[in-house]
């Protein structure tokens, strides 16, 4: 395994696949939130890798762009996780269960 872009992208793809599978397969809301984090981090990894291998330009600024975007995604992910957890807790208080297939209030 050499130090190439492909290595990072394969890792990123594997992480994303695991995250997707977790989101689709797990019934626990907390696990699903964790899967979302995994997917976001997979994306972050690919962005940073792209930047490091010069996809946004080889100048110092071009490399910096990737870091900035990654930081932004982290901030948004943190916010999302907060809101998501708050919602899950709120629903949990009503439903007394963390399992999403029990959450059917929106279903007519």
């Amino acid at each position: 395994m050499s130090n190439s872009l492909d290595t990072y992208l394969i890792l990123s793809g594997m992480l994303f696949a695991i995250g997707s599978f977790g989101f689709l397969a797990r019934r626990n809301a907390i696990s699903m939130l964790m899967s979302i984090e995994l997917m976001l981090n997979a994306v972050n990894l690919s962005i940073v890798a792209f930047a490091a291998f010069g996809a946004f330009g080889t100048t110092q600024q071009g490399v910096g762009v990737g870091s900035v975007i990654a930081l932004m995604v982290m901030a948004v992910a943190a916010a999302e996780a907060t809101v998501g957890l708050a919602i899950v807790i709120a629903i949990y208080r009503n439903k007394r269960t963390p399992l999403v297939d029990e959450y059917d209030a929106m279903r007519q």
Binding site: S20, L24, M32, V100, D101, D104, M106, R107, Q108
Partner: protein
């Protein structure tokens, strides 16, 4: 210029203000509610007379034409009503000799009817409402004759229709009155559609002229005449559309059915609206558009034919009616038919002459019949009257004058105007109009003196206790009768002389000059000892025969002329012509015919259309709605409400997008 024309807008403002004030606070004025309306109309009368004198003595400035045929009058622009680009409607007043003649009739009879109503309506709980409506009517009618714009005339046309509706249905708790009001309104709508289409046709026609589209009456007629055959819509059609409006308002066959029923309204209303003024609006309209009609000989013949047919139809019905007001209503129809016949043969002046004289004597007869009805305690059936001449002498004397006038006995007013119509019809070559007209004159004399015989002569046929209580009406009612009797006697002598070259002819000649020139009517010198004398003798003779026949059947008691009524002879004659008798009694079954055509057949048709609308039109719309709802119901299953189903959808969608991108990028 005396400045009196500055007062002309008051002719409209005063009645409108009278209506508004009385409508708003009239209820609180109780028995004093008549003051404002009566004073308003009194002032209107004074102003109108001032203007009329100025116009008819040619003291007013010239507004059109020149030389011998210059039209003297007043014109004024009030305001621009609709300024919408090319479409501009100006509201203005015009008082030419034709309007002046109408003003005399409308304001004089209007004022007298207002005064009469003080007595006639005094016990009615809707006293104030009645006067408010009367003033609204006066406003509308004056606007109708004063307006210089087709659209404004149309608005006034609808307003008189509205006031007529309100006043026919004045006793709205009475079912028959309400139905009669609706009938009048609906039948008038039929004619009004024609009138509205006619106005639109005028607008389109004048749009082709160089000055651009206009709805000003005089300008539009001139523009259309200049275009001649190049008009987008033939003048023939325009004339007939306008005439359709006139037929509705003036109750000409086949739209005549509303007028007899309109007698459900209070009698002063019958006198003012349904005898002397509003029903003349159609005659006025045709006279106003005279050059338009003159260009189309066919339209003129249709006007004459419908007029004279209505005249004989209505006269034949009037022969057997027993309701005193209905006899007068059919008589009004018949006389209006005369006026249209005169317009149709080209005798415009004669038509307006008859309009004026008829307005006065028919107004008188109606007010007189109101006085009779009052005297016999709201009884309208003449079979329960008789001998009233002894009890109510003033009503009797004035109604006798009215009857002589309408019968056409010289030298009363009706003789002059009716003779002029018949004479001109004969001289212009319309022998059929003359022949039928002469026969109608006989019928007129007959049914009027039948009315007089049944009402005033012979013995009273009603209950004895009513006979004892019969008394003459109060002075507020008899004075208008006397005042109306004066023009009924003198109007013909005043404006109808010298024969063949009358004062009225001089007044109106400038207005009708154009039409007469287009028609190229023969101007034969008047021959009192020739053809004209013979014609006069003929019409007086038939009138006398009619009167004599009525006397023989229904009796008479004027001074030394005494004859008993002979009901058995009436029955015998009725039995001899059973069909004609029943036809007359049943008004030639026109109400039944309308019932069959419009209620039964029309109702079926409407029902079929309703079915089509419900099943096909609504059915289509509802089917679309139902299918949409069903589809939505099916698609609703997609929305499971489970987060992971949605997530799967997103993931699958992403995969589809990525795969299709890769396939496209690899160039397959």
């Amino acid at each position: 210029m005396s400045g009196i024309e500055a007062l002309a807008p008051l002719l409209l403002i005063l009645p409108l203000a009278g209506f508004a004030i009385t409508a708003l606070i009239g209820r609180r004025l109780h028995k004093q509610a008549h003051w404002i309306p009566v004073l308003a109309i009194g002032a209107v009368w004074l102003i109108a007379m001032g203007l009329v004198i100025q116009v008819l003595t040619e003291a007013a400035p010239i507004i059109s034409g020149e030389g011998e045929y210059a039209v003297h009058g007043f014109e004024m622009h009030l305001f621009t009503w609709i300024p919408a680009g090319e479409f501009v409607v100006d509201v203005g007043l015009v008082i030419d000799p034709l309007t002046a003649c109408l003003l005399i009739v409308v304001t004089t009879i209007g004022l007298l009817v207002h005064v009469y109503s003080i007595g006639y309506m005094s016990h009615d709980p809707g006293y104030w409402r009645f006067f408010a409506y009367l003033n609204l009517f006066m406003f509308s009618m004056l606007l109708l004759v004063l307006a210089d714009n087709w659209l404004v005339v149309f608005v006034a046309w609808e307003l008189v229709g509205l006031s007529s509706y309100l006043l026919i249905g004045f006793w709205y708790r009475k079912r028959s009155a309400m139905l009669a009001a609706k009938k009048a309104f609906i039948v008038n709508r039929v004619g009004d559609v024609g009138f509205a289409l006619g106005i639109m046709a005028i607008f389109i026609n004048t749009g082709a002229a160089s000055e651009g589209a206009t709805l000003n009456i005089r300008d539009s007629i001139h523009a259309m005449l200049e275009l001649g055959d190049a008009n987008p819509i033939p003048l023939f059609a325009v004339a007939l559309l306008l005439f359709a409006g006139a037929m509705g308002k003036s109750a000409q066959f086949p739209l005549h059915v509303w007028l007899p029923d309109a007698m459900e309204g209070p009698t002063p209303v019958s006198a003012l609206i349904h005898a002397a003024t509003m029903v003349n609006a159609g005659v006025y309209l045709v006279a106003r558009a005279n050059p338009l009609f003159a260009t189309s000989t066919d339209a003129m013949v249709i006007v004459a034919a419908i007029g004279i047919f209505t005249a004989i139809l209505a006269a034949s019905i009037a022969m057997t009616q027993t309701d005193i007001k209905r006899v007068l209503a059919y008589s009004t129809l018949s006389q209006l038919g005369y006026m249209f016949a005169a317009l149709g043969v080209g005798a415009f002046t004669a038509a307006i002459f008859h309009l004026m004289t008829h307005g006065f004597f028919k107004g008188l007869l109606f007010l007189g019949s109101g006085s009779v009805i009052h005297a016999v305690h709201e009884e309208q059936d003449m079979r329960k009257m008789g001998g009233l001449g002894r009890k109510i002498p003033i009503t009797y004397a004035t109604m006798l004058i009215g009857s002589i006038a309408i019968a056409g006995i010289p030298p009363l007013a009706g003789f002059f105007s009716k003779d002029e119509i018949l004479g001109e019809a004969f001289k212009f070559g319309f022998y059929w109009v003359w022949g039928i007209g002469l026969f109608v004159a006989l019928l007129t004399a007959f049914y009027m003196f039948r009315l007089m015989g049944l009402t005033f002569w012979g013995e009273f046929r009603g209950p004895k206790e009513i006979w004892d209580k019969i008394h003459e009406s109060p002075r507020v009612m008899t004075v208008p009768l006397i005042l109306l009797a004066i023009p009924s006697v003198l109007l013909g002598l005043a404006v109808g002389l010298p024969l063949g070259d009358s004062t009225l002819l001089h007044w109106l000649e400038p207005v009708f000059h154009e039409a007469e020139e287009i028609l190229q009517l023969p101007h034969k010198p008047y021959a009192l000892f020739g053809i004209d004398g013979v014609l006069i003798l003929a019409s007086v003779a038939v009138a006398a025969i009619g009167v004599a026949l009525a006397w023989r059947f229904f009796g008479v008691g004027i001074g030394p002329i005494r004859m008993p009524s002979r009901p058995e002879a009436v029955r015998e004659w009725a039995a001899r012509v059973p069909f004609l008798y029943r036809a007359s009694l049943n008004k030639w079954w026109f109400d039944e015919l309308n019932d069959l055509l419009f209620i039964r057949v029309g109702g079926r048709l409407a029902h079929a259309m309703w079915w089509f609308d419900r099943e096909v039109v609504d059915g289509t719309v509802n089917a679309v709605g139902r299918r949409t709802v069903a589809t939505g119901g099916g698609l609703r299953r997609v929305q499971t409400g489970r987060v992971q189903n949605y997530a799967l959808g997103i993931a699958l969608g992403l995969i589809v997008m990525v795969v299709s991108y890769l396939l496209l990028a690899s160039g397959i």
